[in-house]
Amino acid sequence: MKKVYQVEKDNYEDAGKASTDIKRTLKTLGIERKVLKAVAIACYEAEINIVIHSDGGTVTFEIDDDDGLIRLSFDDIGPGIEDLELAQTPGYSTASPKARSLGFGAGMGLVNMKSVASSFDIRSSKEGTHIYMTFQ
């Protein structure tokens, strides 16, 4: 099964819709609660990052019919992360005052994703940021 969701820049109202839908889908497939929560947390954080920091992008969710491996890919169209190492430091954030006033920008997004995913990979250039995570 594969699903792709569009995520709009600065659309805080809809931020999190993909994670809600993915969580519901996994629930109907009988996936255990711990995994559901991990996927939802990572997806929500990554989705919020696209809304706050990028010019928009997509969330791609896939679950392997054979081994049940869950894959999440997040691909945005820029402007990219200047210093990836710094961005993964707990508490470091470049979120705007607007994003902070809405409850985001604690500087824990990438840290949270890494801590709940079975595998985590991030690449970034001026053309965009790509995050790939798996869960089992």
Binding site: A15, K37, I41, Y44, E45, L102, F104, A106, N112, V116
Partner: protein, 116 residues
Amino acid sequence: MLVKDIKDLLKAREIYIADENIYEKNYEHGFATDLMSDALALLKDETEDVLLISGLSNVQSLRTAEVLDLETVLLVRGKPIDTHMAEMAKDLHINLFQTDLTMFQVCGLLYEKGMR
């Protein structure tokens, strides 16, 4: 502490009730924050239900509760809430309350009654 007692103590109002039995639910723990990533970071390994207390009166406090499998959100400071919040609470099946008390007052009162 039972939700019905929390509601009385804090003079809280119902914004949306997803489950009528919620008033008999007992909460031993609460988590208060306006930063949703903090809630995600600190409650990700929590196995029991926690009362989410927030001054963030927009739909993202509900999204965060949904992601963390939390059933009830209490909004503090009586700020005007987003018009979509009741609708969103219904969609996400989350009980939503609001009080005029500040977060400090809410935490103090609940702590005094034994919640941690």
